[in-house]
């Protein structure tokens, strides 16, 4: 058996089909989910993909968070449904308060696309178990509003609870506080990050690295072994 992993398409989602491909490459079955449908089609996990949903107008993720599909995602995430938010998906998760903090415009005020070095800080979440803690990986990053911010209390709490999942190494590409690239919720089922693991899954494509594939194999193993 394999796992069924849903990928939500919002208007303006861009990396939705790329995420479906990554899920397929990992051996799971991608399921297309539409933002206007509350029905999650009984998937075992959900990915909110990257892009510019609603053009990032108003504020990145601020409008998508009110989509019908998000009502169900928020409900089920609270009862353990694994959810991964990539880039715009991470922004939607913070707007929906499934993850703490918020994203501001990059400090240099430019869009940035680069092969980004990261350290895996938490290899115990639903989406990171195929990594080892402290592992250094390269994942493409591409965003306009990627500066992670939160108040000091929240940042300290995240650090204390091991909920900083990924940190930028060598270069902080957007001015994120404490070099935070990704975080998880307390239960470890909801993870969000700015870099795009789905773009590091094939040796020939993009940067030619496959450092992003473990996101999708991690969740597959968890679901199949469950």
């Amino acid at each position: 058996m394999t796992a069924r992993i849903g990928v939500v398409t919002f208007p303006g989602s861009l990396d939705d089909r790329d995420t479906q491909r990554a899920i397929r490459l990992a051996g799971a079955e991608p399921v297309v989910l539409w933002h206007k449908d509350k029905d999650l089609k009984q998937v075992d996990a959900v990915v909110l993909p990257g892009g510019f949903s609603y053009g990032d107008y108003l504020r990145a993720g601020a409008i998508s968070r009110f989509s019908p599909v998000m009502d169900t995602v928020v409900d089920q995430a609270k009862s353990g449904l694994p959810v991964l938010g990539i880039c715009n998906g991470f922004q939607v998760l913070t707007e929906a308060h499934l993850l703490p903090g918020a994203m501001l415009g990059n400090d240099h005020r430019h869009f940035i696309c680069r092969d980004q070095k990261l350290r895996v800080e938490n290899a115990a979440t639903a989406w990171t178990s195929d990594y080892t803690e402290g592992q250094e990986i390269h994942i493409p990053l591409k965003n306009m509003d990627g500066r992670y911010v939160a108040d000091t209390y929240t940042l300290d709490l995240l650090e204390a609870e091991g909920r900083v999942a990924f940190r930028y190494l060598d270069v902080n590409p957007n001015g994120s506080l404490r070099d935070i690239a990704g975080v998880t919720n307390e239960a470890g089922n909801v993870v969000g990050l700015m870099p795009h693991p789905e773009h590091a899954t094939e040796p020939l494509i993009g940067t030619g690295r496959t450092d992003g594939l473990p996101f999708f194999t991690s969740i597959l193993k968890k679901l199949v072994n469950a």
Partner: protein
């Protein structure tokens, strides 16, 4: 409150003496008289609006048409060409049932007036051309030219243009995989912002811009129509900038990439369900263009009710609605029985769609407003029978003196130290420096099919995940070469783009071009244009790569000063399996470096002559297209058979520029030996065409050199991939880190 009567066709016939503002709308007196002659009466205001925009230089190609015909007349035999010049974009067969459409267009004038929106809407327009052919857009490229890198206005224009391209293209989810950035003071008041796009479809999905089948409905969908870009086509794109005139900002359109993304998805969904008979995007000249082109390309006429056009501004006049260049709009012709489903798909994507008319069995384009008929024309006279000018042209008097000012006689470096110093100056010069600060503002990865992207020689996209079938695209143009000799300059642009595609392992198939020149009313400029077109047409015939379409941008001049003639050529190629692509980076120490082709003392128009002597004179490098073809064949065979691990084309900056780029990309140095018969300076800086460097694994050396020998391509061993410096034996050694600093810090220092 008095109210002027609606200027209907009847009213126009009854009031022949009413003066219309044809001159303000950009028409010449004889052109206006021709409109009157065609109609047999004075035009209505709405008809005048349509003729004025459609007969503008930008839309009618009235100055360039007589020359552009050569692209058809001299077209080489090609099995690959599925749709040629005249449609929204050309279409090429790339095998396995796939067809690829691609095109390059200019958005030069708007980008100078308003850099961000000008560049953004340039991307939007070219992408709609691709969708209108039935294809999913898969990549964009942006050939850009700006004034001097250190000029204060470049700091205004360039960051805005780059942010606009990124802001729009990134939001559409299109990887930006190639293009160029060139600085030259000749572009100071006339930056060139060209935008190219590629789309992929199955053969059976090709769509054309024609309205057929009486009773079929005309549906306008996408953004509401507003007051932006009115008269843009006629006034903006067809006149020389002049400081004395009022600001043209209101004629630049404003882009909404989110709306365009929805338009892409909903159009592709309608195509998948076979709901569309004909389709046209709304670009320059807006509804005037879309309705007249759809009607004139189809079998019948068309009736449109302008009151049904959804508006952003309810005060717009019918003339303004017809001329508006509001972005993100398309027009589809749909059978009555399929209209409901089409509207349903638009609603799913939250796209506004409205039936605004229908195809008739007549041969007239009729447009109604408030119940009155305000347009009644033969659509062909609007769309296709615009004026054609045989503009006078003459080789400029200064051309001889320019060519006699031989760059080969410039003082050359006399010591190794000077040679080294000039290498550093070259790789750090704005034109030769790394453009990473610019390209990292573009998404290269989205869609997950990018195999190669800038700074590689060509961008490469996988189009079939199973078979690995892919396409490559390169755009090139060298205004300095073309200024010295426009005929050969155009051929050198073609040769370089062709070579760049082959360098990555792809087989060149077809050409699109964007021809950027000064004012056609200047006989010297017109001569440059005529020569460049002739050179390009001859070159395409010889290389077997047909021109599938393109764009002409004239009036790129401020006062008397025209830009360098700048034909930008895009070559599209195909590769059976992207796993066989050849990147530019040196990856393995110990691999042997070979120089392919002949190196001569050719410095006319070279980067060296510009950087070291601020000089432009002499003749550009000699063109040998048969040699280009042989070189391409060798590069493609070597890539397919795994004989080479890296390859890089030699062009501006010569061999040393290519070696430094490949070394920095791979983080591996090179030890070079000056071959017999060449001096170190010529070896490093000459810009002889028809050359490339390749890195050959030792195990493949014999097989590779045997192949070159058997086919008569000179292959000279010039060194080895090794160490962490670029060393020229007996001359100098430059550590990679020093080269990297020189190469990568220039652009951020100027622009960041």
């Amino acid at each position: 409150m008095s109210r002027t009567p609606l200027d209907t066709v009847e009213h126009a016939a009854a009031t022949p003496d009413v003066e219309l503002p044809w001159a303000e709308l950009g028409l010449k007196k004889d052109e206006y008289e021709r409109v009157v002659e065609i109609l047999g009466r004075r035009p209505t205001g709405a008809e005048l609006a349509m003729y004025s925009v459609m007969w503008s230089e930008h839309c009618s190609y009235k100055s360039s048409k007589v020359h552009l015909r050569q692209f058809g007349e001299k077209a080489p035999e090609s099995d690959a060409l599925l749709v040629g010049i005249g449609e929204n974009a050309g279409v090429v067969d790339v095998g396995q049932g796939y067809a690829v459409t691609f095109k390059v267009e200019s958005h030069n004038h708007p980008s100078y007036v308003e850099p961000y929106q000008g560049a953004a809407t340039g991307v939007g327009g070219i992408v709609r051309d691709i969708i209108a052919m039935g294809a999913r857009p898969v990549a964009v490229v942006d050939p850009l030219r700006f004034g001097a890198a250190d000029h204060p206005d470049t700091r205004r224009v360039l960051p805005g243009v780059v942010a606009g391209i990124g802001g729009y293209g990134n939001c559409l989810g299109l990887p930006n995989i190639g293009g160029e950035v060139v600085f030259d003071s000749c572009y100071q008041g006339n930056p060139l912002v060209n935008a190219g796009a590629i789309g992929v479809m199955r053969h059976e999905d090709i769509h054309l811009a024609k309205a057929s089948g009486a009773g079929n409905k005309v549906i306008l969908y996408g953004a509401r129509t507003g007051g932006d870009g009115i008269g843009g086509a006629s006034i903006l794109a067809s006149e020389t900038f002049d400081d004395a005139k009022p600001s043209k900002r209101p004629a630049v359109q404003v882009g909404d990439p989110f709306q365009e993304k929805l338009l892409i998805e909903c159009t592709l969904e309608a195509f998948r369900e076979k709901l569309v008979v004909g389709i046209q995007d709304l670009g320059a000249a807006g509804l005037s263009c879309a309705t007249s082109e759809l009607a004139s390309n189809g079998s019948g006429g068309m009736r449109v009710v302008l009151d049904d056009v959804p508006l952003r501004d309810s005060t717009l006049s019918p003339e303004e609605i017809l001329m508006s260049e509001s972005q993100e709009r398309m027009c589809a012709v749909v059978e009555p029985g399929k209209v409901d489903r089409f509207l349903e798909i638009c609603a799913k994507w939250d796209v506004i769609a409205t039936v605004i008319g229908e195809v008739t069995d007549g041969d007239r384009l009729e447009i109604y407003w408030h119940g009155g008929k305000i347009v009644d024309v033969d659509p062909r006279t609007v769309a296709h029978d615009g004026p054609v000018y045989e503009r006078p042209y003459a080789r400029p008097e200064w051309q001889d003196a320019l060519q006699a000012d031989d760059a080969n006689k410039l003082p050359r470096p006399e010591t190794s130290e000077e040679l080294k110093d000039q290498v550093l100056r070259l790789v750090a010069s704005p034109n030769q420096a790394s453009k990473k600060w610019i390209t990292q503002q573009y998404d290269h990865f989205v869609q997950g099919n990018t195999v190669l992207a800038q700074p590689e020689d060509a961008g490469m996209i996988r189009i079939d995940e199973q078979s690995g079938l892919g396409v490559a695209i390169a755009t090139d143009g060298n205004g300095r070469y073309a200024k010295l000799d426009p005929y050969h300059g155009a051929q050198l642009a073609l040769a370089e783009a062709y070579r760049n595609v082959a360098t990555t392992g792809a087989k060149p198939l077809a050409v699109s071009d964007c021809l950027n020149f000064g004012s056609p009313e200047d006989p010297a400029v017109m001569w440059q244009f005529a020569e460049a077109v002739r050179g390009l047409a001859d070159g395409c015939l010889q290389l077997g790569t047909p021109v599938t379409g393109g764009n002409v941008s004239l009036y790129n001049q401020t006062g008397e000063a025209a830009i360098h003639p700048t034909p930008v050529v895009a070559v599209l190629g195909v590769i059976d399996d992207v796993a066989r692509r050849t990147p530019a980076a040196f990856r393995e120490e110990g691999q042997l470096l070979y120089l392919l082709g002949d190196t001569r003392e050719e410095f006319g128009g070279s980067a060296w002559s510009q950087v070291v002597h601020d000089h432009l004179g002499g003749l550009p490098p000699a063109v040998d297209l048969e040699r280009e073809r042989l070189l391409a064949d060798i590069l493609i065979s070597a890539s397919r058979d795994g004989m080479i691990d890296a390859a890089h084309d030699l062009s501006d900056g010569g061999l040393v520029q290519a070696v430094v780029e490949s070394a920095l990309l791979g983080g591996k140095g090179a030890r070079l030996i000056v071959p017999d018969g060449l001096d170190a300076f010529t070896f490093l800086f000459s810009e002889s065409a028809g050359r490339a460097i390749v890195a050959v694994p030792r195990s493949e050396e014999v097989r590779f050199t045997d192949m070159c020998g058997a086919r008569g391509l000179p292959a000279t061993r010039i060194g080895v991939v090794d160490g962490d410096a670029v060393e020229v034996q007996g001359e100098f050694s430059l550590p990679l880190e020093r080269l990297r600093t020189a190469h990568e810090e220039t652009i951020p220092a100027l622009l960041a």
